[in-house]
Every structure is written in C-alpha cells, then in structure tokens.
C-alpha cells in the first residue's frame, strides 16, 4: 500500500511496526498518507527522549505520529529520529488536531516546530524552565508559578483575523479556571460584544499532575492507580485500557471469564460516566431535577463497586494479566438492582426533557461540529458519533468478544449539543444490552493469565512454599517484565478512543508512557465552536463535550 508513495520517501524501513521516515520527509509522507491513502484521522503526536535508553540511538529524540485511515481499521505509526536542534515541519495545516499536540511536544520535550501558529507551553505554566519529560529533568523538581497568562498573545491574532483591529468596544471575560460552569479547572477566555462571543481561546494544564513522568519510575502494576485518576468518572475503563495495552506487549490474552468481567464492569463504568456528564450538563441548563434523577443511580453503582473493589470512585480493579479478584456471590442481583435504578433514572429524566421545548431550544443547533471537522480535530467517542461518523473501537477493531455482542452504535445527525447528549442516553441503553448479554454468557474458569511472570501466585502458595514467596517478591519488587518494544493499543472508553503508547526497555518499569486522551482533542475545538454563540451556550458546549480535567491535563 505504502509503496505507491513518492520514491524519495523510504517507507520500507520498518522497526517494530513503525515506519521510519527521515525528518525532512515526514511532512511529505503524512501529506501523502492523508491525500492519497485517506489517513485523515490524526490520533496523536508524541516524542521520546532516548538518552537513558539501554541501546544507543544515533540521535537523542524521536518524534512519533499515529494516524488512522478513513475506515478507522488501519493504524500507521511514523517515526523520525532527530536531535534537539533540528526543527520539525508543523502539520497544523493538514490536521487541526496537530495544533495542541505539537504544543505539548514542545512543552514536554522541547522540540521545535516550524510554521506552527503559536508554539507555546500548554500543560506547564508560563514561568516553567526546562522540559519535564526529558530524561535529565528531575522528577520532583517543582517550579513556582506566580502569575497567570493573560492569553492576549492568542486572542489578538484571532480578533485580527475577524477584522477587529481595535478592540476597545469589546469586553473580555474569563470563564474559569475557577468557575462553576467550567467542570473542573479549565479556562476559557472570551471577547464579547454584548452577550455574543466574538472570539475565544482556551487554556488548559491546571490539573497537569505529571502522570506520564510518574509512570517512568513505577512498575506496571503500580501505574494502575494512576490510571484511575485520568478519567475519574469511569476509573475502571482506564485500568482496562492500560492493562490491555501492556498485555498486548506481553502477547498474552486473558482467559474468557476475565475478558467477560472486563466487558461487564467496563460497560457499567461507561454508564456511570455518561450519567455524570448528562447530569452536569442538565444542571448547566437549569434543569436541576434531572441531576437528582441521573446522579442518584450512580450511588447504587458506587455501592456495587465498593462491594466488589473496596473503593467507590478510584477502584484500581484491574491488574496486568487480569484483575484483583473474581465477582462476589450475589453480584448478579446487585447488578440487576443497579441497572434497574439507571433505567428508572433515565426514564424519569427523559420524560422531563425529551419533548420539552425549552430543552430543545437550548440544545438544538448549538455548538455544531460537522463530521469532517470532527475527524480533522481528532474527536472520538460519543462526540464524534454525534456528528454522524460511525467510529466505535468496539465495532471497528473489536476486542474482548465485542463482535459477538448484539448492540448498535448510536449516531447523531447534526453534531450539536442535543445530539451529543442523546447519543450518550442511547449509549447507556446499549451498554445495558451488552451487560445483560455478557452476564448470560459469563463462563466459569480462571480470571487471570496463568503465567508466573505476570500474575501473582495464590496467597496459599506465598505463605506455604518458597517458590510462591519468591515469585510474589520478584513481581512486587521488580514488576512484570515487559519485552522491549514500542506499542500502541486502544479501547473505546467513555469519552472515546483511549489509547496508550508505551515504550519498554525490557525492565519492569516503562521507559515512556503516553496517553492518547480523547478529551484533549475535543477541548482544543471548543474555542472555535463557541464563536458567534452566546455565553450561556458556551457553557452547554463545554458540558456536552464531557471534558474531564484529569484526562485532559494528565
């Protein structure tokens, strides 16, 4: 397929499923893929600092692009090696999603891009010195921030492009970072004419907690609790995404029962994630009653999850190669109870809003994102499907027997706030359908991979014989040894395609972990989405994208 390309670009050199391209050819290669091969979905851009890697690389850094084609069934990873002083061609003119992704690479690794519209820090603050994901940056070296960015460097060019040379008549307003409608700590800076937003820019990074740096000094299983706190509304789906990726690197597959449990608990997490999104979105609209109807079923789910995992919110239920323990006796009845509550809450809420004129007027034709635009901006999950694009990792790239379950993909037609909300309502119904089927088919047997190098031995063995004790000791102290390699795998999380790009040097600690956070790309579109709308609509737009700061800023 790739041989059709301009012969100057050497696509044949492959290394771990990565196409190695010369840095100077990279943009040409991506352009070729986009224009001739329909790779119009840019998943992610990241970089690696090889300075502490066991094997020497001729150049210190590498830049990595992950692209998917228009049928979303083929992933291409392009990689170029470079040194600090080499400059990368920006691809922001090809993909809008590249804008923030390139800024992140600059912020975290200090690699420069040519022709980027505004290459500045995104996750770290303005006064930060150095680039934290470089291997020579000390993990715990914090830097005090004393002032906030006024964001005029982004706002003024945007206003100029709209013909506002002089902006004395405009009113500037900060929505966030501490604002009731900002759902966490996100800042939107808007220029207003009356109540209409003329131009808007967003600033993120207020909840940047150094997830990726922390991963580099923890073993694979120690990272599981950190993944809980990415999208904390559906913690277990993050656990699954991470464990699934590492299992892919190890080349192991869970026993059937383990996979089914992951489906059941994963879908339950998706349901409670959508519930919190919808509840909050409706509160923003002034429909407070819906909040009680939709949020209270979450309490039933919490009770079930704390019975199962010991925690309400941050469950850490999964492990590399399985999970902590099997379902408890009576789980099925509790689950039924829980689903009944969810259905009731949803029915109650829908009966209030579905045919409600106020709700429809406030949500329809607000914050429209067309299908093509959504792909170009890197949307995924419910936000992408609301724009009518039929992409669901569970269907396009099935894992865990998802191809054997009977469920539909909910699609919107307009791509407005209404569609994004209704897609989520429908997805809850579909998830319930999947759970019911999975509970019926749930096989008996083991839940963990039976491999001493991956799963913990039974406690009985640890306490009664030396082999078991040593096995446990080695796994705790050194971690699961993952074969050397660079690997990307993703699942359909509540917010969209949640992927992990992991580089292992063969030890029990990852050399690098990069999350592909669905929120990050959705958030980068918000500034453009809300232009021309009213402030009250901007609040709904933000809520309907379901931005979770933990995942956005990592």
């Amino acid at each position: 397929m790739l041989s059709m390309c301009d012969d100057k670009i050497d696509f044949d050199r492959k290394e771990n499923n990565h196409y190695i391209v010369k840095l100077s050819d990279m943009k040409k290669a991506i352009k070729f893929l986009k224009e001739s091969e329909n790779y119009n979905f840019l998943l992610d851009i990241t970089a690696v600092d090889y300075s502490k890697y066991k094997e020497n690389h001729s150049k210190r850094f590498a830049i990595i692009y992950l692209l998917k084609n228009k049928d979303f069934d083929n992933l291409v990873i392009l990689k170029a090696y470079l040194n600090e002083d080499e400059i990368i061609d920006s691809i922001t003119d090809l993909y809008k999603s590249a804008n923030w992704a390139e800024r992140e690479v600059w912020d975290q690794y200090g690699l420069k891009f040519k022709n980027h519209p505004n290459l500045k820090r995104i996750l770290n603050h303005k006064e930060f010195m150095g680039h934290p994901l470089r291997k020579d940056y000390p993990t715990t070296k914090g830097q005090l921030c004393t002032k906030t960015d006024d964001l005029m460097d982004e706002m003024v060019p945007k206003l100029k492009a709209k013909g506002y040379e002089n902006h004395e008549d405009l009113m500037f307003l900060n929505l966030g970072p501490a604002h009731p409608a900002s759902h966490g700590t996100i800042r939107n800076f808007v220029a207003l004419e009356g109540e209409t937003i003329i131009s808007a820019v967003s600033e993120i990074g207020y909840l940047h907690r150094g997830f990726e740096k922390s991963c580099e000094n923890h073993t694979y299983n120690q990272i599981i609790p950190y993944t809980d706190r990415l999208n904390y509304c559906s913690a277990i789906l993050n656990n699954i995404a991470f464990a699934h990726t590492v299992e892919g690197m190890l080349g192991v597959e869970l026993p059937e029962r383990g996979q089914f449990i992951r489906v059941i608990i994963g879908e339950l997490s998706r349901i409670i994630d959508h519930l919190v999104c919808l509840a909050a979105n409706l509160v923003d609209m002034g429909a407070l009653t819906n909040y009680w109807y939709l949020y209270n079923p979450r309490e039933t789910a919490y009770t079930l999850l704390s019975k199962l995992t010991g925690a309400r919110l941050t469950n850490s239920y999964m492990r590399i190669g399985g999970m902590t323990h099997d379902l408890y006796d009576g789980f099925e009845e509790d689950l039924k109870e829980c689903i009944k509550d969810v259905e009731k809450g949803m029915d109650d809420s829908l009966s209030l809003i579905e045919h409600n004129r106020i709700f429809q007027d406030r949500s329809q034709n607000i914050g429209i994102v067309s299908g093509d635009d959504a792909i170009n901006r890197g949307f995924s999950g419910p936000n992408l499907r609301a724009s009518g694009v039929n992409y669901d990792v569970r269907k396009n790239n099935p894992y865990y027997f998802y191809d054997t379950f009977d469920f539909d993909v909910a699609l919107g037609s307009v791509g407005d706030v209404y569609d994004r909300m209704m897609v989520r309502f429908e997805e809850i119904r579909q998830s319930i359908k999947i759970i019911n089927q999975a509970m019926k088919k749930l096989p008996d047997g083991e839940i963990n991979v039976s491999n001493h190098a991956i799963s913990f031995p039974k406690k009985q063995n640890v306490y009664s014989n030396i082999e078991g004790l040593m096995n446990q000791f080695k796994l705790v102290m050194e971690g699961v040894k993952v074969p050397k390699g660079e690997y990307y795998r993703s699942i359909e999380a509540a917010n969209g395609e949640l992927g992990f790009y992991i580089i292992s040097d063969g030890s029990g600690t990852p050399y690098k972990v990069k999350v592909r956070p669905p929120c990050f790309y959705a958030m980068s579109a918000l500034g453009d989405m809300i232009e021309g709308e009213m402030i009250a609509d901007a609040v709904l737009d933000l809520g309907s994208l379901n931005i979770i700061a933990g995942e956005l800023d990592r």
């Binding site: 921030c145 501490a178 909840l207 922390s214 706190r229 009680w292 309490e299």
Partner: protein
C-alpha cells in the same frame, strides 16, 4: 432554680444567651461553602451534595462560587503549581471569619503525585483548618470535616480574633 429576667416574663418564647454564642450558632448552622474542586475529590463532593448524603442536613448546601459570599473554602482535588496563584487569590478574596478544609491526599500533601508539577500540600500556599484523608475521601469523611469546622466555629470570639491575626507566610506571600 427560679427563672428570672426576661425568661420569667416571656416564658418559653424567649431564650437568653450571649451574643457570641448566638452569632456562632447562626454561623455554624449556615455555612456557605466555596468548592474549589479540581479533580476526583470534586466528584465525591457531588455525592456529598446529592440525596443520599445530603450536606443540607448540616446547613451547608448553599454552594457559592463567589469567594466573597462564602465562608468555607473546600479544596477538593490536586492543586498544581499553575493553579496555586488562583487558589491564593480566591482565599484572599474571602472575608473573615473564613475556614479552609483540605480534602483528600493531593490537597493535603500532594498525594502520590510527588513530581515536578504538583504542589506538595496546599498549606504551603494558604493556612488550613481541617485536613480530610482519603483518595478520594468518602462522603462521610467530608461531613466529618464539616462538623469539625462547626466545632471550631463555636469557639468564643476571642479565639476568632486571635485566629484572624495569625501570622501565616506561604510560598506565594512575598
């Protein structure tokens, strides 16, 4: 003991007390919290506010998002260095008597985010009255924290006066 004074005249319809106690009672029964919710703990706070745990039983359901109208600052979630000046500004805008609850491991000590971006405890920026442990704390723990603040509030006005003059110097106080 014989009833004297106003109570003898008006019977059960009047209770005499000290002004101090009356004000403290009013304050503790209607705290207006400002939720500085940044992360996972804020989701647990949503549970505290909703039907099952119901913070309104403690008179603190009027969640204000203006620091000038709030007397209780609940920091629920991780505070990064980038967020620190914002937190300080919000704290400074609150009027006395003001109370601060640090909820969850991250706000108390940085939690397991011991790295370049996370503030290792908000008490490096602003003074804290009550710390709540947990990652995130259970809703019951939030309520326990609130009750402890109410106890502090019930102390005599001399205590409040002394407290408002306390000498705190955080990282961002020049």
């Amino acid at each position: 003991m014989a009833v004297t004074g106003e109570e003898a005249i008006f019977g059960d319809s009047v209770i005499t007390t000290k002004l101090d106690s009356a004000i403290a009672w009013a304050r503790e029964s209607s705290m207006w919290p400002y939720i500085f919710g940044t992360a996972c703990c804020a989701i647990e706070f949503m549970s505290v506010a909703s039907s099952k745990f119901d913070i309104s039983r403690f008179g603190a359901e009027v969640v204000r998002f203006s620091p000038r109208q709030a007397d209780l600052l609940i920091i629920a979630g991780t505070v990064s260095y980038k967020q620190a000046p914002i937190l300080k500004r919000i704290y400074d805008q609150m009027t006395e008597p003001k109370w601060v609850v640090s909820a969850g491991a991250c706000a108390c000590s940085g939690g397991f985010y011991d790295n370049y971006t996370t503030l290792q405890g908000i008490d490096r920026i602003i003074p804290v009255d009550v710390y709540i442990s947990g990652c995130p704390p259970r809703p019951e723990a939030f309520l326990e924290g609130l009750m402890q603040i109410q106890k502090l509030q019930a102390k005599p006005s001399k205590y409040l006066e002394k407290r408002s003059k306390r000498d705190f110097k955080g990282l961002l106080d020049a």
